[in-house]
Amino acid sequence: MFRLNLKIAFRNLWKNKGYTLINIAGLSIGMTGCILIYLFISYQLSFDQQYQNKDRIYRVVSHAYYAGGEEFDRGVPLPLAPAMRNDFGMLEQVAALEGSFGMIKVKDSKGNVKLKTLEKAFYAEPGFFKIFDYKWLVGNPEKALTAPNTVALSKTTAAKFFGDWHQAVGKTINYQNDKDLLVTGVFADVPQNNSNVIAIAISYAGFKHRNEKRWGSVASSSECYILLKEGVKVSDLEGPKKAFLKKYYVEKTIGKPDHLFQPLKDIHTDERFGSFSGKKTSKNELLGLTVIGVLLLLTACINFINLATAQAVGRSKEVGVRKVMGSGKKQLMIQFLTETLVLTLIALLLACVFTEIVLPGMSALFKEEITFNLLGHPVIFVFIFCMVLLVGVLSGFYPAMIMSGFSPALAIKNKINIGSGGNTIRKVLVIIQFAITIVLVTGTLVIVMQMKFMREKSLGFTSSAIALINIPSDSLSRQKYEILKARIKAEPGVTAVSFCSDAPSSDDNTNNAFAFDSTIDAAFQANTKVVDDDYLKTFGLKLLAGRYLAKSKSDTAREYVVNETLLKKLDMTNVQDAIGKKILFGGIRGPVVGVVRDFNNLNLRGAISPMIMMTRNDRFEIIAVKMNAQQIPAVMKNIEKIWNDYYFEQVYSADFMDERISNYYTGEQLMGTLFKVFAMTIIFISFIGLFGLISFVATQRTKEMAIRKVLGANVLELVTMLNTSFIRMILLANLIAWPVAYIFIEKWLSGYAYRIPLNIWPFAASMLISLVITLVTVSLRSYQAAKTNPINALKYE
């Protein structure tokens, strides 16, 4: 029976090649989208999941309430790790992890430097490797990093430094032109789906600031991980935490400091904190993608249902005959479901092929190694099986029910009329399908507009033709700052040069407490930028009051410049009033000499922070060079030459302000691309579904059209007749889609401090798009039908 059903299914599919093609195309494209989304999401959820203790590992993060809001930081104050080790009994391990960046030099056997490179390195406490069970190839994870000036390397890094990782242990590398570090261990490479992709782990005992006692300063590079004892719940930590906070936060601090324990599995998907990997995918994004995946499948299923019920009339005779021969309703349903499943399986095979084709593109887009490996990940089988079953049943059940319900006496004489009931459901399904399409199109348009807005909105400073070049900050190098600056400034094509801790806009910000006007302890932290006297000119900042910082060679700040937001937060409306007021910052009291107009110190997602700018020679990290746009290549070459004259021991690295800014928005760009791709896919699926449906309607109404033509209707009138009902449906779909789209878009836009106003245009545009697509599709097909000679159509009877 089953074999026969299968055979009949194939013959039927072959007979209606056109519809089969449309169905398979729609389903396989929908499934491809679904598989890709599944692969992406399961990759994102696989972050940090390879550790044995993963359910007991938590990251301690900082959270502070201010009068003006709250602040999240993935870092903790430096004294927190030892204090927690001391005060929490239920923790098996506490380990600090300090992110760092610097130059590594490797010498050959004769003592000559053979390799000079800038690398990310981590200071890790030995406990870190008790929490995370890295696979150690050489060395003892418990002991390797106990002594100061020791380092463990990943296999690849060890091979890079010494040629062969087997020979790494016992050799030394030099970090930041400072101490030589002895290699005591080699561990297997940490996979990319990790929040801490550690390649160089330096003993924490060698970290300069490990004994820092200040609780008021939080840097996001200082993370702390804890491992709960077996059986301890994270909620058990709340009690001791209260006492802990009370005990250590004794100084009067601004806001209300708190620490949260973040489960390991949440690190990658919690957008408030981020991680060393620099990657994060928020739960909302994952949810959004899941919804899109479901919608993709849904539109494909709707296509199927529509075409199948439309075709049902043509198959009524077969149903009738089968029933007369003694087939029960159930047997017919099974037969039709078999057909659907065959179709779904064919679509699945195609989808697998498509996935293989598209996957490299997606991996490149996400810059992640995502593989479609059925054997390596048996879970995919489960997913695919569920998907096929869902699609098969979802799209096959309703048509099967309709068809098996035909009355045999009528069906056998082809007198079946699917009737108004079936038509209504088909119409509702088409409306749903188009509503989904319209929501996505509108969403895509808004995302594209917001992206354009962010790219084009002025950040409040000049960002074009500015190069940011790293500089070493050891005392020897510092002595060469002046001459370096003078020489670069003298280069033709260079218009301004400035030393600073960072560019005006940065995603690496330092926030600090301060006191204003001697008496008031400010209720918020201020973003601090260490700059020199040319910063204003280099980045085109505008001064609103007072003067700019004077030239200073000192390592301590003497005077301050603040921004408008800081004054606003202090309730000062007149910028002039600020001049001359004293600021106490980092133990140094100094006058405010000027106020700058606000500029974006983060990206456009966040609002502008209150800011204090000062000069301190010991805290410069980059030199910013403003050039003539036309001369950039030549100037950059010369700057590198000059730089290498002074810092031949170091590694030169430079990037451009513009590129940095566009990098802030890679997440948005990604989302934008994804939305564009999937919106196109859904439009395409809906389009071919509509085409199938209108083909059917045209065939069904051939006789009617022929009669009308005989009565004198022309082609245009007939095309209009067929179009009208579809156009009405599309308009209705728009009405349904708009409020839904509005809610989603408004929610998405509210995540941006600077956003486009939501007006009617994206909605109107998506209506236009849907109308045009419908008109083109329907007219194409109905024109063909309307043009046929009425005699041919009326001959049958």
């Binding site: 009738g320 005959v321 007369v324 047997q331 006496a409």
Partner: protein, 227 residues
């Protein structure tokens, strides 16, 4: 075998009842060969559909082999006609996607006949109707007469006690029609299969043993055919 009592069938249309059948009562015994005749719209096909349990009468009782069909549920009814009734249609109504052999086999599948038995019965039918060479052809590749032979073979494969035929020769040329009618007579006489046919043709009716004349839904005449 069949007892109809006061069968009525009407469609209500905007309050108006349009009668198809009125007060139809008759008894048909095992082994009879009945022809139902009458002008278009007299209700012949409806009567045949009711006999074949494809339609339900509005009123009246229908007993088939002692069972009241009207009161049976759908599954029982399907069971009943699946086992005892074979249909032959004017337009053959073969399933276009199935080969000759598969068409003949189909009712056996629904009857849940075992695979070996099915094979032998299909082979027997093909043999009997001289269609062994055509068993893998599709209905579209056969002539009308051949298609009707397949239709009859299909009806016979399930070994029914009753064959209902709705103008079985209506689409055929006269030579083929004669062949079909000869076949019916043979089945009726040699295998004692009850046959009820709807026909317009006096010639065809002459093959049977009894003629029911329908006029506007009423049995106007019930004649025994004298050979």
């Amino acid at each position: 075998m069949i007892q109809l009592q006061n069968i009525e069938k009407y469609y209500a249309n905007k309050g108006m009842k349009s009668y198809i059948l009125r007060h139809v009562s008759t008894t048909i015994r095992q082994g009879e060969f009945v022809s139902i005749m009458g002008p278009s719209g007299a209700g012949k096909s409806t009567l045949l559909n009711i006999l074949g349990m494809l339609e339900e009468p509005t009123y009246g009782t229908y007993e088939f082999m002692g069972e009241n069909v009207v009161s049976l549920n759908e599954r029982k009814r399907i069971e009943l006609y699946r086992n005892h009734i074979g249909f032959v249609f004017q337009a053959y109504h073969l399933i276009d996607e199935m080969t000759v052999a598969e068409n003949i086999e189909a009712p056996l599948l629904y009857k849940k006949v075992g695979a070996a038995e099915r094979k032998s019965r299909v082979a027997e039918m093909l043999d009997r109707f001289n269609m062994v060479a055509k068993k893998d052809l599709f209905p579209g590749q056969l002539s009308g007469g051949q298609q009707q032979l397949v239709g009859i073979a299909r009806a016979l494969a399930a070994q029914p006690l009753l064959i209902l035929a709705d103008e079985p020769t209506g689409n055929l040329q006269s030579a083929q029609a004669l062949q079909i009618m000869d076949l019916f007579r043979k089945l009726n006489e040699e295998e004692n299969i009850t046959i009820i046919q709807v026909t317009h043709s006096e010639v065809n009716a002459g093959y049977g043993s009894r003629i029911l004349h329908l006029l506007d839904g009423v049995i106007s005449e019930d004649l025994q055919v004298v050979v």
